[in-house]
């Protein structure tokens, strides 16, 4: 496996505690006044040129949010978030809505180049098999700065654009689906997002269309003291298929920054959505200073018969992760899948998992979760599998494995199971293991270094899940995992 070697080289090439994506971009930004108020929401809505209904939606969410309390049931602890010390909108001053790449601030283009995100279609085309092409929507703080392959996708009937643009161009579609999976009132962070969301992607795949390329969104937080409130909505109409990937990074800073996203997926009859995440927000330093607070609500609705939604996530970043990508299995015979690798090191805290809500007949779900804890981190899997009264023949298989590296970290598994239908069959397996000294010695005896051995054993541990990722991202993810574990051995 050459990737293992590459991983090691990469690990060696960076200093301890060195987050590779931690640089800052110097661009002049326009911001909303600090803090949260009706005026700020009106400001955001006006900046986006939104119709009146959208503004009303936001204001209703804000009113609701003022009455809500921040949840505290997760196994994470953090300093109180002061919501009035955050900027809710920050966009490059110079042309916040560029029409083509030529209009994008060169500093921003450089940023994406440094991050390895291809924004120039010609460059992507050069020498690459057409089927490996990836269309990218690049979101920089509160705005989308570029979306590639829009025209070509349009020819196939696929709509892929920033959600703020979709609100203007396809208001009926957006209105029909926005908030239909994650209601405005769903939870504290989702409601906050509904009030202040800034950008994210919108995807619509028409009936019977297989999306001709991977779609992806790349989120970058750059501006200081700014929250990122991304909103993504993906609709796969009858018999269609789409694979979507999101990636995230942020500069290194001593202060914490809030990321509260909402992602909604809708799969109609016979449609399939694959949603993959490689989350690598800045995790904070070894003492736990700084890092992103990642409070995210992601939910997919298998609304149609035989529909399929697959969540795959590789979570290596963030100081706090609070995230449960879920599936509502409404359509008969629909299927939900959740594959997760959550790596925590240093002082990171992860509370993540999924919910599989079986409503329709013969619905099936599968959960494979791999938690890897190193350093002084805490890593919790929290999952719910439930069967409604009418969910005859519902089936779930859950497998949660935890791997501990060192003895100062913790791994926890909190599974909930609720079944109101006697025919439902739910299976649950869980293991917690350590890299044993004997295993390590065996590898060393064969000539592997401790770093190489750890990378090899960890790669073996997460293999089932890595296989679910699109090939190019699997290699990337494998590297990321090893980098995240850097300094955890020896």
């Amino acid at each position: 496996m050459p990737a293992v070697q590459e991983t090691i080289d990469q690990v060696r090439s960076i200093d301890v505690d060195q987050y590779k994506y931690g640089f800052e971009t110097e661009v002049e930004m326009e911001k909303a006044p600090k803090g949260l108020s009706e005026d700020v929401i009106r400001f955001i809505s006006a900046k986006k040129g939104e119709p009146e209904w959208m503004l009303q939606w936001r204001l209703d969410a804000y009113k609701r949010w003022l009455t809500m309390k921040e949840p505290n049931w997760a196994r994470v602890s953090y300093d109180k978030i002061r919501y009035n010390d955050i900027y809710y909108y920050a966009a490059p001053k110079n042309n916040p809505a560029p029409k083509s790449l030529d209009e994008v601030d060169p500093e921003i283009l450089k940023t994406y180049e440094k991050l390895g995100i291809p924004l120039r279609e010609q460059e992507i085309l050069a020498g690459v098999e057409p089927r490996n092409r990836v269309a990218v929507d690049a979101v920089f703080d509160s705005v989308s700065v570029a979306t590639t392959f829009k025209e070509e996708l349009k020819k196939a009937g696929v709509i892929f654009m920033p959600i703020s643009e979709a609100i203007r161009e396809y208001p009926d579609l957006v209105r029909q689906y926005l908030g239909s999976v994650v209601p405005v009132t769903d939870n504290f962070f989702a409601t906050l997002n509904s009030a202040v969301f800034t950008d994210g992607s919108f995807v619509y795949v028409p009936p019977g269309v297989r999306c001709p390329m991977e779609l992806s969104t790349y989120f970058r937080i750059n501006e200081k003291n700014t929250g990122q409130f991304e909103r993504t909505l993906i609709i796969a109409d009858k018999g269609s298929y789409v694979s979507y990937l999101e990636g995230c990074t942020a500069p290194k800073r001593d202060e914490n920054q809030l990321h509260a996203a909402v992602v909604e997926l809708v799969a109609l009859d016979d449609a399939e959505i694959k949603y993959s995440t490689v989350q690598n927000w800045y995790p904070g330093d070894a003492e736990g200073r700084g890092g992103i607070y990642n409070f995210v609500t992601k939910r997919g609705d298998c609304r149609g018969r035989n529909s399929v939604i697959t969540w795959t996530q590789v979570e290596t970043g963030s100081a706090i992760t609070w995230k449960y990508p879920s599936c509502i299995l409404r359509g008969d015979n629909s299927r939900g899948e959740f594959y997760s690798i959550a790596v925590s090191n240093g002082m990171q805290q992860v509370d993540s998992g999924t919910k599989m809500i079986h409503l329709g007949k013969n619905t099936t779900s599968r959960i494979i979760s791999k938690g890897i804890a190193a350093g002084k981190s805490e890593n919790t899997y929290r999952g719910l599998v439930s069967a409604h009264r009418k969910a005859t023949g519902a089936r779930n298989f859950t497998n949660c494995d935890s791997l501990l590296i060192g003895n100062q970290c913790g791994a926890h598994t909190v599974p909930y199971i609720e079944s109101k239908n006697a025919s439902a069959v739910f299976e649950h397996e869980a293991t917690t293991s350590k890299i044993s000294e004997d295993q390590m010695f065996y590898c060393l005896q064969r000539g592997l270094s401790e770093e190489e051995a750890t990378a090899l054993i960890v790669n073996g541990f997460v293999k089932d899940v890595l296989q679910q990722l699109p090939m190019e991202f699997a290699v990337e993810a494998q590297k990321l995992i090893s980098i995240s574990l850097e300094g955890s051995v020896g």
């Binding site: 005896q445 592997l448 541990f461």
Partner: protein, 250 residues
């Protein structure tokens, strides 16, 4: 050449090796026999560099290099190979992947370039063929769900591919059926050469019928108490260790 002088080792305050002396010349096959618990596996672990063993006295030199000052992976790169009495399982890591990682790690440590994939596959196929290891076993996670005999064969496959200069076989014969014993022994014999030596730990003469040793050493209570030629093993087979236990007590 491996030279061990006055080796004293303890683990958790328990003395296990008590002033052990042993020399194995280049090209030599030395057999070590001895009662259960006499310290044979401990000796092999200490040569290979396992943590937890406290070396109180003595030295181990491989071709003049002081092994006790080297990390286990450095010792491996210097040519030490241990075929484990109980090989470990590495879940999720295909045997092929593991083999390639190990070979390349050692090559790198010696300043050599990586093997190309076709070259690697050619070598694996040849060695696996000789040891009658089916190809699909190489695709499975290393040692996971392997039978006792399959694990032992996999150890010898690794030895054949890594081409070490000092090979320790810790009860490689246990768990092997009659045919496998022959196949594995042939594999080992094929590796015998003037610049490679072996330390073969076993309880039974039948292995030594296949891998004929140059010298036989009897170990008891952490010391070599008798050394001789291959006929010493036959004598032990007939009389057991009673004499040597007494000599300990005396």
């Amino acid at each position: 050449m491996l030279e061990i002088k006055n080796l004293v080792v303890q683990i958790e305050d328990k003395r296990i090796l008590n002033g052990l002396d042993l020399t194995v010349n280049n090209g030599e096959v030395a057999a070590i026999m001895g009662p259960n618990g006499s310290g044979k596996s401990t000796l092999s672990y200490v040569i290979a560099g396992k943590e937890d063993y406290e070396v109180l006295d003595g030295e181990i030199l491989l071709d003049g290099q002081n092994l006790l000052e080297m990390e286990p992976d450095q010792r491996a790169a210097a040519g030490v190979f241990l075929a484990f009495q109980y090989p470990l399982e590495i879940p999720g890591v295909a045997s092929m992947t593991f083999l390639k990682a190990a070979i390349n790690a050692q090559r790198k440590a010696r300043g050599e370039g990586e093997l190309t994939t076709p070259d690697f596959i050619k070598r694996v196929n040849a060695a696996a063929g000789q040891l009658e290891i089916p190809k699909d076993m190489l695709k499975r996670a290393l040692n996971v769900g392997f039978s006792g005999g399959e694990k032992k064969r996999m150890e010898i496959l690794q030895m054949a591919l890594l081409q070490p200069t000092f090979c320790i076989l810790d009860e490689t014969d246990s768990g092997l059926d009659i045919d496998a014993l022959r196949i594995v022994s042939e594999g080992v014999n094929a590796l015998r050469s003037a610049d490679r030596s072996f330390l073969v730990i076993t309880h039974y003469q039948r292995l030594l019928n296949h891998i004929v040793p140059d010298t036989v050493h009897v170990m008891s209570s952490g010391r070599i108490v008798k050394s001789g030629g291959k006929e010493l093993a036959l004598e032990l087979e007939a009389n057991g260790y009673a004499d040597y236990r007494e000599s300990e007590a005396a």
